[in-house]
């Protein structure tokens, strides 16, 4: 496809941007919501949601998460009640107008950030994130991340087995702290034994950090244009009152 370069491991046709484009969207959501003064944060939130709708609609599923709205309510309620001189009475409660404004701005900020982070996590494969980190100087972190992703289910399974074995032998009936320490030692020792197998496998394949190439990152021609546009909007939102 003209104007498009893709690395191995990309999500392919369902991705509307390359990894740098998604990174630009994440950076915009974070920067605009943090830097925008007053009600400019509303514009930042609307733009973050519009980006999600356009490029990573799966992230909008986070809006169905009850805990998100609980978080927003937790930001809103104290600000309404304690955020300034009372303006209205709602039964026994005295509500503050400046407090309500501050609370709403906090809620909008939280929404923009959560949708931005969820969108990035839903759109960019971990291998590409690892490749991106390696390109910005964190060489080896990509490999460590890959190892972590692969060992996660193994560690979980072995930890569960160790816990159940200890429990079946009555390990947690007496001296619970001692049993917890034993569980910790067992889980870590088992994980390191497994890690040694990975090291042997990597060395058998002649893997070396110096010779390894960074993992490929998919990018598209429109990523750069979008990044420039979003950076300009973020600066405008931060500066214009």
């Amino acid at each position: 496809m003209k104007g498009e370069k893709r690395g191995r491991g990309s999500l392919g046709a369902q991705r509307r941007l390359g990894t740098p484009g998604y990174l630009a969207c994440l950076a915009f959501s974070l920067a605009a919501s943090m830097l925008a003064p007053g009600w400019n944060v509303g514009v930042a939130c609307v733009l973050s949601l519009a980006l999600a709708l356009a490029f990573y609609p799966a992230a909008l599923r986070v809006l169905a998460n009850g805990r998100l709205w609980l978080l927003v309510a937790l930001l809103l309620a104290p600000a309404c009640l304690l955020g300034g001189p009372p303006s209205w009475a709602l039964g026994p409660l005295a509500l503050s107008q400046p407090g309500l404004a501050t609370g709403l701005q906090m809620g909008l900020r939280a929404l923009a950030i959560v949708v931005g982070v969820a969108g990035f996590a839903a759109s960019v494969p971990l291998s590409e994130l690892a490749g991106l980190l390696e390109r910005v100087g964190l060489k080896g972190l990509g490999f460590a991340l890959g190892v972590a992703m692969n060992v996660l289910p193994v560690i979980h399974e072995r930890a569960t087995t160790a816990y159940q074995a200890l429990q079946l032998r009555g390990g947690f009936r007496r001296q619970r702290l001692q049993a917890l320490r034993l569980l910790l030692v067992t889980v870590v020792a088992n994980s390191l034994r497994y890690a040694d197998d990975i090291v042997s496998a990597a060395e058998a394949r002649a893997f070396s950090l110096e010779r390894s190439r960074p993992l490929p990152v998919a990018w598209r021609a429109r990523d750069l244009a979008l990044a420039g546009l979003l950076a300009s909007i973020a600066v405008a939102l931060a500066v214009v009152q």
Partner: protein
Amino acid sequence: MRLSTRDLVYIGVFGALWGVVEMTFGSLLHALNVPFSGAVLTGIGMTLALIGRLFVPKRGSVLLIGLVSAFLKMFSLGSIVVNPMIGIVTEALLAEIVLSAFGQPRRLSFLVAGMLALLWTFAQPFFTSGILGGQGLATVLGWTLQKGAKALGMLPSAVAAILALLIGIHLLIGGVAGVLAWDAGRAVRARLQPAERA
């Protein structure tokens, strides 16, 4: 900082261990509404990261373990992960600063690193909600006092006592995490040594 393949694999494994704790225990502790669940979770994670330092005794290893864990947390979909990510990375950074300042791993450096990392758990709401979120430090202090008074069974008016107790509990959990990491790490090494010799 020059890391070998073994170092990187160990960093990945310790990051995954911390990630497993965050993804499993984290949900459980919050669901059970255990007091100081954040501090307990950080204590367990910090214990693992500090054990990792014993096996990768190089500058930056704890920070890298924290970064791996934070990225794993970010990719655990369906949850709101911004605050825990900031927490994990900052705690790992603080522990790394202490460990690097002390040089060779020592019980005292582990103790101080654990305590400082846990102190961040207490301070984080002031930074994220108070400063970044714009709620103001006084508002966050009010929430902290109310929550602390409820957890400790005290009156919210006893400001100094609540704050001292909260800070003390966090430091205690951090200290326990540091000492436990030192002892458990050496026990793991002793357990693995016969296999290494063979």
